[in-house]
Assembly symmetry: C2
């Protein structure tokens, strides 16, 4: 298969990135970052999550953020863990909902406090509600490659969940390497396997950089035919329920790589670097992304 | 071509890594790091460089280090910029000499203060001296992909130098992305081009991570048939004559990736992480490598 000449970047700094930041970022400042990202051409974003404010205080302003954010230029996707979150997302008039589950029992217990079976039963009602309200839904499968508690994750476990999500109406499935345990070979193998069973379902990749391998994993995914990648401005991020989780791939680094290869992202690199500089100023600590400080 | 099941890691922390560190690391401590690397299975290392102590004060102890370092388990390679350096390397009884030049005129001027033509004339006498003393020699070509002063580097410019080096006796040519400007596509194209013209010459890759893309570049090189990679313990490094140069790829991250893919490196990952922890203690600042702190 010839590699794609165009890819889509889904910006996750506002949700996956910020949720690891201890200091609450005021809604006003989040809106300023979203505006800077919009100016750099970002068209798809995981803007916030309707989770318990006790679990993730950083995202306690989800409803307010969605009521104030500019509409039209960006598809605002919002992560929800359960029916209650989905109801709030619908009220907030989000563009798309992302439903998540973990591919390993131990991680699902740590992350949402129940078994995969119980989560799936809940999520079926979530998808049903979203369909009823005609809100598009995507599914994301955490720890699709390796789990910090259980080790390597089987392809069949990932496919089983992906199949359910698609049956229930997901128009896209994202595979997440939540703690950066995948290798490029495993990415190629997993993508090939899932694609062969679900050939019509768009797949995305969500990669973390705990061992510095995420960019090679992204490239392996690209070679395997993936055209949608989650990245985070400045490379911020992590998972609050995983020990020592590291950030996402930096949006600006990924865009540099694709544009250098003549693969269109539709994004403006200097604009992204300005947005990353704004974010760095807001967070008051250096960000892991390399491109802003590179020569 | 089927990808190789075995690769060689050439450890460059002691030379390329340390030369960017302001604080002089005493010989005793360098020897301790070399010992830790040896225990982790490292068999090939760029141990130091015979350059002007004024230019790189960190490596002023090259002769002393070579007189005290344990011999037998590790092939000690030493970088030299000119005839004077080569003479010192021969006296120090090094296992192999690495001769370097830049692929762009502007970078060669900045790095060694003369034109590529003048450098080549000097290096021919270096190779000749090494041959006379039966010291094996390799060549490394800096800024083989992009130059911070001149931009993208042409394949023909790289090949021309590689061809000279081989004619003069180099048994290996390493292509360096000195400031992390390459993309995976460019790596594949360059490797394919040079291999097609010099099919019998072992090529190596030396990659920097200025824009976070180096691991994808390494993976692209691996897919193109490269089996020797320069990496630096803890990801330390940079180039003193390049503005804002970033580190090399961390040895432990690269080893994690290859071993996860079932590609043998002959190295012990926990041992490398212990060595990186020792290095971090000596340098008294956090290192860019991810694996030591990853979950």
């Amino acid at each position: 298969m010839a590699a794609a000449r165009q890819v889509t970047i889904r910006e996750v700094a506002l949700r996956d990135g910020l949720q690891s930041e201890r200091e609450f970022v005021p809604t006003e400042k989040k809106l300023a970052v979203i505006d800077a990202l919009s100016q750099a051409g970002i068209q798809c974003m995981e803007t916030t999550s309707f989770v318990s404010p006790r679990a993730i205080p950083q995202l306690q302003d989800a409803a307010e953020l969605m009521s104030r954010v500019a509409r039209g230029n960006i598809i605002h996707e919002v992560l929800v863990p359960n029916l209650k979150g989905a109801q709030k997302a619908i009220v907030s008039n989000v563009d798309r909902v992302v439903v998540f589950i973990s591919a390993s029992e131990a991680h699902n217990q740590a992350n949402v406090g129940c078994s995969i079976g119980d989560s799936l039963a809940d999520l079926q009602t979530v998808y049903s509600l979203l369909k009823q309200h005609q809100v598009p839904a995507a599914g994301i499968i955490a720890v699709s490659f390796g789990c910090p508690y259980q080790g390597r994750v089987q392809k069949t476990d990932v496919l089983k969940i992906a199949q359910r999500f698609v049956d229930w109406g997901a128009d896209r499935v994202m595979l997440a390497d939540t703690t950066g345990m995948a290798s490029p070979a495993q990415i190629s193998e997993m993508i090939g396997y899932v694609q062969s069973h679900l050939p019509d379902v768009p797949l995305g990749l969500h990669l973390h950089n705990n061992r510095g391998v995420a960019m090679a994993n992204l490239y392996a995914g690209y070679l395997a035919g993936i055209t949608q990648f989650d990245t985070s401005l400045g490379g911020i991020g992590g998972c609050p329920n995983v020990p020592l989780a590291a950030g996402n791939l930096a949006t600006e680094d990924v865009v540099f790589m694709f544009e250098e290869m003549g693969v269109a992202t539709g994004l403006d690199l200097p604009g992204l670097i300005r947005a990353a500089q704004l974010l760095e100023k807001i967070l008051q600590h250096p960000l892991p992304g390399r491109s802003p400080t590179g020569s």
